[in-house]
Amino acid sequence: MSRLLKHREVFLFLAILLVLVLVTARFPRFAQPGNLLTIFNDTSILMMLALGQMAVILTRSIDLSMAANLALTGMIVAMTNAAFPGVPVPLLMAMCVVVGAGLGAFNGVLVWKLNIPPIVVTLGTLTIYRGLVFVISGGAWVNAAQMSPDFINLQRAVFLGLPLLSWFAIVTALLFWVVMTRTPLGRSLYAIGVNPTASVYTGINVGRTKFYAFVISGAVAGLCGYLWISRYVIASVEVAGGYELTIIAACVIGGVSIAGGIGSVAGVLLGAIFLGVINNALPVINISPFWQMAISGTAILLAVVLNARGERRQGRVILKKAEAV
């Protein structure tokens, strides 16, 4: 048991259960399967984005431009849909992935070829991408009436009892799990974070691998651009404004180390769900919405403290080793 508890995923899972139990005690309807599935569905986009962000953070980088990328790709796809309602939605989604990956690749190239620190690059592109949303749309919103029914309803279609949106998240998570644990690319992402110098010596092209990480986060952001727009049926400049920090918060709560090299798919999913549960629970148990921000801030701080406790090295314990001999 104590061994299990060492895994922060287990700890996080218990924390989420605790919140569920507490809320349910006051409000039984909250824990109904239907509501839980709704929370999962509501959190799907955050989960996907956080997974993309994890790929970047693992390499000791950070992508502050994900939300802006999402907004830009979302605006592009919404305008395309408004202008050419006949284009099939799967094609539009493919377009989102490509556009998003392209925007991510731009970050990646600057990081790779020019060696500019990622936080600077994405701080710059964060404003550029969001500005471009305004430029291409002229500031006008694309609203529900302009979108085709297919465009809006695809993610709402139910398959095996779950909306497609949830399935997108599930498939993305599986894909990430395979890539992270079973492919050279995934392992390289970890390796770079653990020890960049050693990675060079091992023959990993650090710059190019970081580039791939940004392409991954960009592609995810692009796909989420479509999902976000069709979910909230409005495309505007302000879409997902400030969401970049929520994405990072989900990663942090999920145990991704900002110093790179540490993090798991399961942890990130739980981190996102934790935020989702908190956000859903507060209005339900009638806590003033004005408390929401302070509570999630506290949650982030607690998560960091707990994670740091877990990560802290226990020294070399010379005496203990001596006794054991």
């Binding site: 500031g139 609203n143 529900a144 009436a145 997902a240 339900v284």
Partner: protein, 305 residues
Amino acid sequence: QTRIALVVKSLGNGFFDAANKGAQEAAAELGDVEVIYTGPTAATAEAQIEVINSLIAQQVDAIAISANDPDALVPALQKAMERGIKVISWDSGVAPEGRQLHLNPSETALIGETIIKLAADYLPDGGDVAILSASSTATNQNAWIEAAKAVLPEKFPNINLVSVVYGDDDSVKSTDEAKGLIASYPDLKAIIAPTTVGVVAAAQVVTDQNLIGKINVTGLALPSEFKQFIDNGASQAVALWNPIDLGYAAVMLANDLVKGGEAKPGAVLSMGRMGELTLDDTNSGAMAAPFTFDKSNIEEFSKIY
């Protein structure tokens, strides 16, 4: 050449784009007036102040503003007035010391009553209703909600207002809040959203959760953005004034002041084709009554604004 700046809460909002149409119409009618349509992208007071500062530097003749914050803009607008610029607020007002007059789209009390009535009309037996507002700092929304609360006890005794929540004119936040309302109040019969962003978000949630027919969404909405929810039954009816007229009137009033008109309690100023505005003792006046859209007329108006 008279230059009048039409400053809005945020660019890209369909409502304000429509207002700009009316403003340009007024400029064309007046001939010697140029309208500068501007505003921040995010609906914050600080961003609006930067816009005001640059307008002061450009020495425009008048500023007509729909404010993100009634108080925070006062110092900046006072500075504008000191430099000889005429300042009026419209739609969402500024505290009296920060402007020369305020143009309400409609009587506050009337709007407050209308939004409740829109819900009550379809609830013959009464029931629970909740309000999903814009940001908690929005002047106009807050005033309407106060007015609505005031008329409830006598005119609509069987309507029970259970909660007021704020979606900050942000579609995600509005969506979350609407969901929260539905989850917390199982007997909820109507959601009233006196804001164009919130009302769309709420209607989408009701559509998504298959609650059409159980929960009626109503409030203030742009016909073009809201048409589909009248069509699919998520909403029976919504109301709004004509933003084109509002923009038109704002420019006309600003022009009046520039050309020598004086804003003081009791004064009567011309709004061109919209008639005349009579100022009350806080130097504000109302344009017209809100207009209701339902299945019968939404098609027609959705093509206009």
